[in-house]
């Protein structure tokens, strides 16, 4: 990313705000053990302390098992965002690698990868992941990362392939080739840095897609298993108490929506910042 695009991004209030939200979420999930007032899994008094509304002692109330929802949301950030971040990293690196391979090697490799993308992109991702998890039984968080990440590389692969093909015809690549640079040196030294901003956009979009996916899986009971808290399974605990305990729904919903919109805004503003670059002479 050029200094100009970077400058534009830093001057862009929505972009900075979105980045701040994501950073806060990351910090909160890292510091959860120190920030959370209670142990997220301990059930102090399932009779007297169950389903208490938000108060000073319990800012987000308590759940049906008398656990502190605020602590659960903080620890849930750790699990939900951890899984999301891991899955995003996996899907973006997989997508970038396959997209780059398709563009650079061309020929039948390109055909095969593009055909695979065309086929897989038609499948409803959530449905596929649900079917996979349901057939293999419940999974550990690591397997969730693998599964969610492994099913999300298509968009990145498309973007990276397109960008690489565009850059392959530019003069600087020709110049590097004329100087005797090998194909992989050109990819590593020239193309990847040039396409990095677009990969960053893809990464932000992937993050925005992956957070709800984990929440959905945990919500239907196929993702993170209790007692480990995640934003999805806090919601699951709340579904039986919709009329009486709104705090079980509102706070995790808010957490998911806030992080996802921050990721979306960041992707959008990043794209604008880069596009300004392209338009400039």
């Amino acid at each position: 990313m050029t200094p100009h695009a970077w400058r534009r991004l830093m001057d862009d209030r929505p972009a900075v705000l979105a980045a701040a939200v994501l950073t806060t979420a990351a910090v909160v999930s890292l510091l959860a053990p120190w920030l959370a007032p209670y142990d997220p899994t301990v059930q102090p008094d399932p009779v007297a302390l169950r389903l208490i509304g938000p108060s000073v002692q319990h800012p987000f109330g308590t759940d049906p098992f008398s656990r502190d929802v605020f602590s659960r949301v903080l620890y849930g950030a750790r699990v939900s965002l951890g899984v999301a971040f891991g899955a995003m990293l996996l899907s973006v690196s997989l997508g970038a690698a396959l997209g780059a391979l398709a563009a650079v090697l061309g020929g039948w490799v390109d055909l095969a990868i593009s055909a695979l993308v065309d086929i897989l992109i038609a499948m409803p991702r959530l449905l596929v992941v649900i079917a996979l998890v349901a057939t293999f039984g419940t999974l550990s968080p690591w397997w969730l990362v693998a599964l969610i990440g492994g099913s999300g590389w298509l968009t990145t692969a498309r973007i990276v392939r397109g960008e690489f093909r565009d850059h392959l015809n530019r003069d600087y690549v020709l110049a590097a080739r004329a100087l005797g640079a090998t194909r992989w040196r050109i990819v590593w030294q020239h193309l990847l840095p040039a396409v990095a901003p677009q990969i960053a956009v893809a990464a932000a979009l992937a993050l925005a897609a992956v957070i709800p996916l984990e929440a959905a899986l945990s919500f239907v009971g196929l993702g993170i298993q209790p007692p480990l808290p995640s934003w999805g399974n806090i919601l699951l605990d709340g579904t039986d108490y919709l009329t009486s305990a709104w705090w079980l729904v509102v706070f995790p919903v808010g957490a998911v929506t806030m992080t996802v919109s921050a990721a979306l805004v960041l992707a959008d503003r990043l794209r604008v910042a880069i596009a300004g670059e392209e338009r400039a002479p």
Binding site: I119, M123, A131, S261
Partner: protein, 325 residues
């Protein structure tokens, strides 16, 4: 055009074939079969279990079962659902129209709403209403359907009791009521799930349509239209929209798989007995023929809808549809 149509149709067929194979292979790796829970653990002798497995062909090697299943599929037979005690075709023919009704209503409502929002935003570009609607549509895109469904269910359904929270009808013996009461009852039950899906569709459509509209607003023909004294609404409706709608329709096609995925969750939350709920039940019961049929049908639905939207986009705006977004 013909070339494109043929390519797309072939592509669609290939997708369905690959998905069918993949789902079948996947289910082979899964533990258990429909008779694991029904017959094991009790005092049923192993010979009886073996006989039932033999009767349903579950004891055959996977390759043979795939060939049999694919062959039957080609003849339009989807198999027998052990958990529902019905043929898969019967289960599916009940469920698919309900899903189509839900997704179709959501698409139409959402598309109309999204277009309206985008037109309003473009007319008042950079003013307060544009910003406010921008925040709203961002929220709509960022909030997953099932979360919105839970919120709607909590307040509109459970607390204020405006709408039913589950099912497709509350009239017991359906035939005893006149058709208009049945229709009204059905609509009343459809409102919440369809609106929730429509909101997410509308948010997506609005964001892309706004961007596409703003993209054409500085074109010469817009200046010409304004110069000849057309009202701003007429400029937007007659000159900007037709040139900006193609990519949005194409994009909607790309978003359809995720819409169908979202519908699966919505059906589960609202107890809407369409393909999504059927799939969940079938997975829990390890009813493989039904799972296969459900996943396959969802994919076919997504592929058909995507192919259709591609053609519509091409018809509406032949030049624009081909340009990448």
């Amino acid at each position: 055009m013909t070339h494109r149509i043929v390519t797309r149709l072939l592509q669609a067929a290939a997708v369905c074939a690959v998905v069918a194979g993949a789902v079948f292979v996947l289910l082979q790796c899964a533990p258990g079969d429909p008779f694991a829970t029904a017959l094991e653990g009790g005092d049923i002798p192993a010979t009886v279990r073996a006989e039932w497995r033999a009767r349903y062909g579950i004891d055959r090697p996977p390759a043979e079962r795939f060939v049999r299943w694919a062959g039957a599929l080609a003849r339009g037979k989807l198999g027998y659902s052990a958990s529902r005690h019905q043929t898969v075709a019967a289960v599916v023919s009940d469920a698919v129209p309900r899903t189509l009704l839900l997704v179709g209503t959501a698409l139409i409502l959402g598309f109309a709403l999204g277009m309206g929002i985008a037109l309003l935003q473009t007319k008042h570009h950079r003013r307060r209403i544009d910003r406010a609607l921008g925040v709203l549509t961002l929220g709509g895109v960022a909030m997953p359907e099932f979360l919105l469904a839970l919120l709607a269910m909590t307040w509109l359904g459970a607390r204020w009791r405006l709408f039913p929270v589950a099912g497709i009808g509350s009239l017991g013996d359906v035939q005893a009521f006149p058709w208009w009461e049945r229709a009204a009852d059905g609509l009343w039950h459809l409102t919440l799930p369809a609106s929730v899906l429509a909101v997410t569709v509308a948010a997506r459509v609005a964001r892309h349509q706004r961007a596409a509209l703003l993209g054409v607003m500085h074109e010469d023909y817009i200046r010409t239209a304004r110069a000849k004294g057309l009202a701003e609404w007429a400029v937007l409706w007659r000159h900007a929209l037709p040139n900006a709608i193609g990519p949005v329709i194409a994009l909607l096609g790309l978003a359809l798989p995720s819409l169908i995925g979202g519908a699966v969750l919505i059906e589960r939350i609202f107890g809407w007995p369409g393909m999504g709920l059927t799939l969940f039940d079938a997975l829990l019961a390890r009813d493989y023929p039904l799972v296969l049929a459900a996943v396959l049908l969802a994919t076919v639905l997504a592929v058909v809808a995507r192919t259709l939207t591609d053609f519509i986009a091409e018809l509406v705006a032949p030049r624009r549809a081909r340009e990448p977004l």
